[in-house]
Symmetry: C2
């Protein structure tokens, strides 16, 4: 163990986190899939990828109170642990970690992880404190499980960016893996709708109308593929579609570069993205798509009013 | 590895961080001693204890810019890496981790760990942002080294409380060990002065006069030992001593219970403490002592104007 002996020998000097890690121990490959439960095909895809890449797969199921605002849907957020155990097991999970809220936030808890920059626009502006809650609970989960890789759905694109920043800034020894959003398949009436646990709040007809979000994103993708780089005009292509749904209370439709900030023009970058969020029939829905990538429909085997949305959000 | 097979087997349900840890891997005992360098006998004591208790001992040397205020002594804080390597090696360290500031805080860094409650009074009030900087860098160091135990000097009593809160709230798998303050020995002119790297700013005569802090703390200890529990009267016993030093600009003299908050009366508790901070000859000094514990002088072998103060503060 001790490379330098005791006494007066000089210790070996290390100057980077990577050196420290190399100098210290190692262990097996653990995959973590953090979720808020009510698992759907999107989560199953994350779990299956973890299963394929890791020796041990842990799924956390925790509806994190800290990331909900006082007027949000914490109390009614759908929960079904028994079903989640089945879905997680079928997808290849070895463990489900399901802590009580009091175990995660015992009396006297007083720590917050604040991330500036990437957490500020979009959902950060629409949901004050949300990403502080996300960053804090994700950090706790990463510390508890110490996974080699942690898997997050791209549906929560800004969350993914916040988590990547968290892991980088705090020197966590975990690789963050983003997994493309799973959508309702082409043979369903709500084809293209991003799977989300919150979809269970919607009737089948409401889910069909909620496809306005993915259709708007696709319109922006198409304009981008046609060479448009002016974010105002790209955005307008999406707004034209969203305007067809009178029940939509739009939070934002944003066309952004890698840092999630509005810019007047995009330069080519694989991280260019279009994001949308709004309230439809009283339910807050979000979605996003890459730009500069050929439009595709990631087809889920998901049958009709099944829910959907990877990770804690 | 995988206890539950793939396919449809139910995963094993875990409900506490401890269960997760037990279910997942294990490794050797790593001891970490976080410091800002310019090592003295106080640090050597921490390192020696780590050496006795762990298989591998890492000393970090990093003058953390994030915990210094804009008008504080970041630029002139004493540094001598070569000497630190010698002191660390002699005390039993295997590794010294000495990162560049740019490696700890690269461009784009945007994360802060905020701890409410215990970080708010005393030095938290006197040095806005200080404990946010401490908590953030300590978290980074703990994540990088992933030590079994991390050793902190009791001289920075509030820092120790903040770090304990950090580790508890964020589920870090590290045991925090507090080590009693080392003081200049009875055969020196500045007997009782808590060792601190900042003592190097003081002349021998100024160090002698700086013993007013430890003498004031001792007066409070004595009053407490005599049965006094009224914090106003305990505090006055210390103020009577401090009043003898006209050069002292006092920040605070506080008699507190376990949560570091002022109360009118103490109840018996081994964590009752008296703390002092102030500026003397332009140098900010802090010190503290336990109450309800027999007054002792922890004698260092420290010769005269050697510096002194465990850990990053």
């Amino acid at each position: 163990m001790a490379e330098a002996g005791q006494g007066t020998a000089l210790p070996r000097l290390l100057t980077t986190p990577a050196e420290v890690r190399a100098a210290l121990a190692g262990r097996g490959r653990v995959g973590l899939v953090p979720t808020m439960g009510y698992l759907h095909e999107g989560h199953a895809t994350l779990i299956a990828q973890a299963r394929a890449e890791c020796d041990v797969v842990v799924v956390s199921v925790f509806v994190n109170p800290m990331q909900f605002g006082p007027t949000e849907d914490l109390a009614k957020y759908p929960r079904d642990l028994e079903r989640d155990l089945g879905v997680a097991g079928a997808a290849g999970a070895d463990f489900v970690f399901h802590p009580a809220a009091g175990a995660m936030y015992p009396a006297g808890f007083s720590t917050r992880v604040e991330i500036s920059g990437v957490s500020e626009p979009l959902d950060g502006a629409a949901r004050p404190g949300h990403f502080t809650g996300v960053a804090t609970v994700v950090l706790k989960l990463l510390n508890i499980v110490q996974p080699t890789r942690a898997y997050f759905g791209e549906k929560d694109w800004q969350q993914l960016a916040v988590v990547r920043r968290l892991v980088s800034d705090l020197d966590l020894n975990t690789e963050i893996v983003g997994v493309p959003t799973v959508r309702a398949s082409a043979d369903t009436p709500h084809a293209g709708l991003a799977l989300s646990s919150r979809n269970t709040y919607l009737s089948p007809e409401q889910q069909r109308r909620a496809t306005v979000l993915s259709r708007a994103l696709r319109a922006v993708q198409t304009a981008y593929a046609g060479g448009e780089r002016d974010t105002g005009r790209l955005r307008q292509a999406g707004l034209d579609v969203l305007g067809s749904e009178p029940e939509l209370a739009l939070d934002y439709l944003a066309v952004v570069g890698p840092d999630l900030r509005d810019v007047p023009r995009l330069t080519d970058d694989p991280l260019n993205r279009v994001l949308v969020a709004g309230r439809l029939f009283g339910v807050r829905l979000i979605d996003n798509m890459p730009l500069g990538v050929a439009p595709t429909v990631a087809a889920a085997s998901a049958a009709a009013p099944s829910p959907s949305a990877p990770t804690p959000a």
